[in-house]
Each structure stands twice: as structure tokens, then as C-alpha cells.
Symmetry: none
DNA sequence: GATGAATGAGTGTTCATTCAT
DNA sequence: GATGAATGAACACTCATTCAT
């Protein structure tokens, strides 16, 4: 059903493949646009197909059902956001702890390429289904890895974080941003909002550090939380 | 179709009014039950009316549309939760700042006890509509008032809080709890989780205090944020 | 996906023709399999093509429409069954009248190579279209010829049979077997069922013989039913 | 849509009930008409509702799905046919065995008078679903009862019949008639056809009697086939 | 000849809402 | 006020068939 003749060298010809990829892209993009302009209510498969310049049948050739389109959109945006956050935590912009955190917060705030309505709609849809849980799985492992990365090694800035701490660190800021998005708060993109989020996280981290001094044994093999934030399938 | 015949005993008075109130109650309760047992998908007006023992026509006599039922349910639950939080912030349990915060956090975590599915469904529904915004209005003013109450007066514990600060204070903890609910995290009701939430809030408040010393002029009439968190209708 | 590359060895001759025949065979066989495993509901052209290891376009190169595939399958099975029945009536197994009839009945019961579900599905489909009539045409002439064969000539066992008699002789047993197939009766392949069908046919033939003694003039040219059972196209 | 005023006499108030019954009738009748005029292909729920002068929503208020409409129609027609056959077997017309059989055969041939296409369509539809089996259940028990009725008691005409015998007795004639209907044989209603069917059944019964002499012990409690033709749920 | 991406008419079904009784 | 039968717009989804490559 998929790659038939093996691709010889590189993908010399991917005539069909390329076409298919374009079609899928067009559909996902159309979904984002419709969500952005009309919200979840306007999101019908027929409308998406039409906007994508594709027949409804074609849409269903690539997506099992309406939800799959939404999921794909969510996944793409999530992936992009995680990549940015990863870069931010890496210290690519500002290597200080606060610098990293600020970069991460800024990324989270501006995620979804500024398509606030689409973002809102996707969040709503994701919640409306039960798929929020599975969608968060990659986030969860990412957060865990990120926490470990920042907190261990020679230049470790943090002690090992507990499951609950990682969860709260990631979800409290995200929760506040999400609430601001859903409530369409005007200060969402303001400097003040960003400042406060950073302050909150830094303060919390400070409290954690104050209580539990930097882990003297950052060896992952003896990490007290071998699989933090991954307690659920 | 159901308990229509009037209660025989005493309430001879308030014939219509009482009847109407009962009907409304029955409908809201039925809505909660259906949400709890079948999720948002099962929530149809016909079903709610049937469960309430009322005709669909009657339902529409009291509620303009499907949404109104949901809103009413949300409002009732919200009201109850706010009352509890109010009591917590009052220091009824433990008058120290941390004590008040812990009481509040605990209240938020255990809200809607026994109706997690309904809570989730209501949250989803509220988000799915645009009504989240208007629903948060009372919360907003409540939070503002609470912040002022704690932070002003002779025994003021806090400086006046900015709009963004109040927002983050309320939504970050709620956001984390909400995420835990939606993701069905097992540690939701654990002591550790509660501890960390309290720690986060306390740390954040500490940071705020450290930066901006207690407001020397707690007079509400000159409050720098006359209607914090209420910038939107 | 399938036998695409040409067989290298011997069949150098018949290049196109053989290929086409193979393709047609593969499609018909795939149709049978799908019918057998998923019933009529699973029978879609795309699925058949996929199972046959052929593109949907190729399927339509050989079959005008979906129905044609079904018809071809039905025709093949019918042909095989008729050949067997012919052999049975010839007395190849047991030359007595009852022996011949029993052989025929057994053949009818076990027709379609044991693929009961496929048989059922084909019957359903054939009925659902109007094509039952045309499909029965060869059966009709076969029956007519068979009746004549058994009933005429020096060793004639039967008188010439009327149109109605031939029809009933063929369709009553078939009808009962068909019903047993469609109703999925457990005794379909039991000896008792076969015995009773034979008994019914033998009894009926006996009654016919008793009424109209063997035709003294079996000359076909003067047959009273020049085109029995063939009154319709 | 129809007479609203309540039936005057006895069923004083069945206002809604009557309306509902009328609606259901209209739908079933519309289904029969559409089947008769356009065959199974034309049978869509929207079309049925439209022909019934009813909205599609109303149709679904009374029938769970498309199939349910078909089933209801089939059930009604079946019931009527069985009643007629019952009367025939009762010997109401001609009390001799052959007389009863002839009456039954005639009834079967002329069933659904005037609606051959609908009959055909219903048969097809019933087969297309798996519901043929369950639909035949009442027929099965009816046949069993009829066989017992004719075959037992003081004036018993028949020995107890085995499961297979009852099945063949009922399905062979029906099968032949059905084939004649589906193939639209011109002699379907001819006297000759009827004669031959009767002859076949009588001959078969004769053979049965010859082999197994009348049951000396017609006591149902010791019947060798306690539930003939009912081996399947 | 073969391919398979694309098509789109058409289907069954749901459910918020109305209004005659 | 209460009822519930009726409404019908709207939706998700299927699949036989075509045709550019």
C-alpha cells in the first residue's frame, strides 16, 4: 500500500508521493485557516476539503475521520513548539537559567504561529475528545528529558525534579497561557505577562533549590524519578 | 410524565414559583447526571428533558437554548466552589498566609467531588462555547476582591496585585489542576501534589513581595488596578 | 504487491493473453475470497483490486463495472457446477436413476467449493440485481437438455417432461438447498438432508411416470415441448 | 397530514397514539410503494419519508434505522401470508389432504398479489441483510405446528415429520415459486404449474408415509422431533 | 497497458428547536 | 403552562468510477 519499488538513490521520483504530501499539507493548512476564521463550529470535513481545493473523497483518502485532521494539525503545531522550546532550553538564546526560561515562556506564548483562534479551537477539540491524554504523552517525555537535561551534568543548574514538580512546572505556565488564550485576555502577548510567568517559574525553582540542594549525584542511573511525568500510558 | 402533582403538605403558597424552581432544578440535575455518565456527547436537550421527567417543550420554557442549561449548571457549580474558596481565603482554617493558600488549593483540587466526569464535561463544554469568558467574569472579580482582601487593610499580607499577577495566581494553579484532571493523573489528590502547588504559589507571592514592598496606600479608591482581571466583557 | 514481473522461464509465448487471463483470474479469486470472508458488504471494487494485487484501474480494464466481477464469478462457479451435474446425470458414478439423482443432489449441495459465505453472497447479489434471470439461462437450457437426455433414447428412463415439470424438478431442490444456505441451516451437508431431497425428486419423478407412461415416440423433432424452460431470454 | 379528530367510539382517547400509528402506517406503505416502483435501489430513507409525507426526522422517530422499516414491512406481509396459509391448511376449503395442499400452494403463489416487485424487493432486502434467518423463525415454528397439526391426532393424515422433511416440504415449493417470481416465469400463475407443485408435494408425502407408517403414538410429548425446524435461534 | 490519486453524488442519521394541541 | 410529534438543515462518511501520468 505504501512505498512500492524501493527508492533507489534518493527520492528521485516521488511523483505520487509528492502529490500526496502536498494534498495532506493543503488539507491541514485549510483546517488551520477554517479554525482560525470560524472556530470549531465551522470545522466540517466538507468545508475543509473545499478550502483545501480538494474533494471530500480525497480528504478521506488521507484521514480516517474528521478527528484525524484535527489531530494532525495539533501534532504538527506541537512538534514545532516543542522544537522551539527545546532550543530555548538549550540556552541558544540566553544561557542563564532565567534566560532559558524566558525564552521558553515566550515560545509557549507565541506558539501556533500567532493563530490564536485556531490554537483555541484545537485545544477545545483536543479536550472534547479524550485524546488530550495521548497528545500530551510526547510533551510529557519531552518535559522529563528537558528537566533532566537542565538539571544534571557538570553545569547542572537544578536538582533532580520530582514527578509532581515537573508536572507543575510545565502545566502551570501552560495552564495560565491556555486560560489567557481561551479567555482571549488582551495582555496575553504583553511584556508584563511574560515577566510574571518567568517570575513565577524562577521563584518556584528557587524554592525547590532552597529546599533540596543540587543533586550531588546526577547520575541518571540512580535518578529518583526514572520516568517522571510518564506514569500513564 | 413525572412528579408533576403538587406537593400536598405545606407549601401551598408559592404555587407557580416553587414549581418552576423545582423544574429548573430537575433539569439542571439531570444535565449533571447525563454529563457525568455519558460525557458531553450524551448531552442532548431531549435526553436532559427526559431524564428530568419533563417534556422537551417545558425545558425550552425555562432555558432559551441548550447552552443555557450548561451555563446554569456551570454557574451553580462555580458558585459553590467560590464559596468554599472564599471561606478558605478568609483564614477560617489556618490564618497564616500559607495556611490560607493551602486551604484554597485543597478546595480547588477536591472541587466537584464525586463528579469528575461532569466537571470535565462542563469544562469542555464551557470551552467549546465561547462562554468561558463570561463565565470567568465572576471568578475574576472574586479573585480581585480576594487579592485585595488579603493584601490590604491593617493586617495586609500582600501588596496590591497587578492584573497579570492576579491572573497568573489564579490560573496557574487551576491550570495545573485542570491538566491533572483532564489527563487523569494519578497523583491529583496526593499530598505531594498539593505541597508543590502551595510551594509554587507561596514562592511566587514571595517574589512579588520582594520586588514591590507592601502597598503603602491600600485605599481601594486609589487602587492602581480598579477592575483587575475585568478588562473584557 | 503482486506478480508483476513476468515469469522468466518458459511461457514466452502468449505474452499478453496469458497475462490478461492471470489478471482476470486473480480478480475473480480475490472477489471470492472477499465475499467468503466479509460477505457482500465487504465487496467493494477497491478492495477486490487490492486483494488481487492489481490497481483499481486495471480491474476496470477487464470488467465494465462492479457487477461484472460478480457475474464472472457466478458464471465460473455455475459452469463448474453444471459440468459436475452433467457428469452425475450421465451416470458416471451410479447408473441407476436414483444413483444419478443422488449424485446430482450431492453436487448441488457441495457446489461453490465449500465456500458457503461466498455462495450466499453471490446468490444475494445475483438476486439484488436483476441478473438472476439471465444467469439462469444456461441452467435452463442445460436442464432441458439433461431432461431430454435422461428421458429419451433407447434406454430412456423418463417420459418427455413438460416445461413446468422441468422447472420444478430443478428449482425445488435448488430452492430448498438455497434456503438452507441462506438460513445457514446446520443440516445442509447432512446425509439426512440429502436423502430427503433425493426421495422428493424420485417420488416426484415416479408420480410423473405413473401418470404419463414413457413417451413411445422420443423423437426430438416431434417433442411436445420444443423449447422447454427457455421461454424467456 | 391526516385526520386528527379522535376515533369516536371506544378507544376514547388515543390522540397521539392514533397519530403515531397513522404515521407508521404511512411510512410502511410508502416503503412498499417505493420498493414496488423502483426496487431496492430506490429505497432510501429520505425517499421513503418524502413519499410518506413525513419528515426524515419523523421516520427516525419511529424506526431505529433504514432496516427497521424494511423489517416491519416484511413482517406485516409475512403475517398476512401465514394467516392465509394457516386457513388453507385448516382445510377450510377442501378437507382432503390434497385439497389442503392445493389451497396452500395456491396461497403461496398468489401471495402479495399485485405487488410482485415489492415482494421481490423485500425478499432481496431480507436476504441482503442477515435478517432472513430471524425472519424465518416464525415461519419455522408455524410450519412445525402445521406439520404436527396435520399429522397427529385421531384423524392424523401423516406420521411425525423430521426436521429435514419439514424444511424441504416448506422450502422446496417456496423455492420453486420464488424462482419463478424472480425469473418472472410466465407460467407462474398457470394451472399447470400449480398442479405440478401439488403433485410434487403429494408424491413426497406419499413416499414418506410409505417408508414410515403413520405414527402409532401421536402423543406430542413423545414426539421424536420436539422442535422440528427450530434448531437455530 | 497499468497505475492510483482524485472525484463527488449520494446516503444514513442526529438533534436543536417549534408549535398545534 | 405543559406536551411531544414533527421538523429539516446539516453532517460525517462511502465507494464506484475516471483519467492524467
Amino acid at each position: 500500500m505504501a512505498p512500492r519499488r524501493q527508492a533507489v538513490e534518493n527520492n528521485r521520483r516521488t511523483p505520487r508521493q509528492a502529490r500526496a504530501a502536498e494534498t495532506v499539507s493543503a488539507i491541514v493548512e485549510a483546517a488551520a485557516q477554517i479554525l482560525e476564521s470560524g472556530g470549531l463550529a465551522a470545522f466540517t470535513t466538507n468545508r475543509v476539503a473545499e478550502r483545501a481545493g480538494v474533494s471530500i473523497g480525497t480528504l478521506y483518502q488521507y484521514f480516517g475521520d474528521k478527528n484525524a485532521v484535527l489531530l494532525e494539525l495539533a501534532r504538527q503545531e506541537m512538534k514545532a513548539a516543542l522544537a522551539e522550546i527545546h532550543s530555548a532550553l538549550q540556552g541558544d538564546v540566553d544561557p542563564t537559567l532565567e534566560g532559558r526560561i524566558r525564552a521558553m515562556v515566550r515560545t509557549m506564548i507565541h506558539a501556533f504561529r500567532g493563530r490564536q483562534r485556531a490554537r483555541k479551537a484545537v485545544v477545545q477539540a483536543i479536550l472534547a475528545q479524550g485524546i488530550g491524554i495521548e497528545l500530551m504523552a510526547p510533551v510529557a517525555s519531552f518535559i522529563a528529558a528537558a528537566g533532566a537535561a537542565v538539571g544534571s551534568g557538570p553545569g547542572a543548574m537544578l536538582p533532580a525534579l520530582s514527578r509532581e514538580q515537573l508536572f507543575i512546572l510545565s502545566r502551570s505556565a501552560l495552564g495560565a497561557i491556555r486560560a489567557a488564550v481561551l479567555e482571549e485576555q488582551p495582555f496575553l502577548r504583553s511584556r508584563g505577562f511574560e515577566d510574571e510567568l518567568v517570575r513565577m517559574i524562577v521563584a518556584y525553582l528557587g524554592a525547590i533549590i532552597a529546599t533540596a540542594p543540587p543533586d550531588p549525584n546526577p547520575d541518571p542511573s540512580s535518578d529518583p524519578n526514572p520516568d517522571p511525568d510518564r506514569t500513564r500510558a
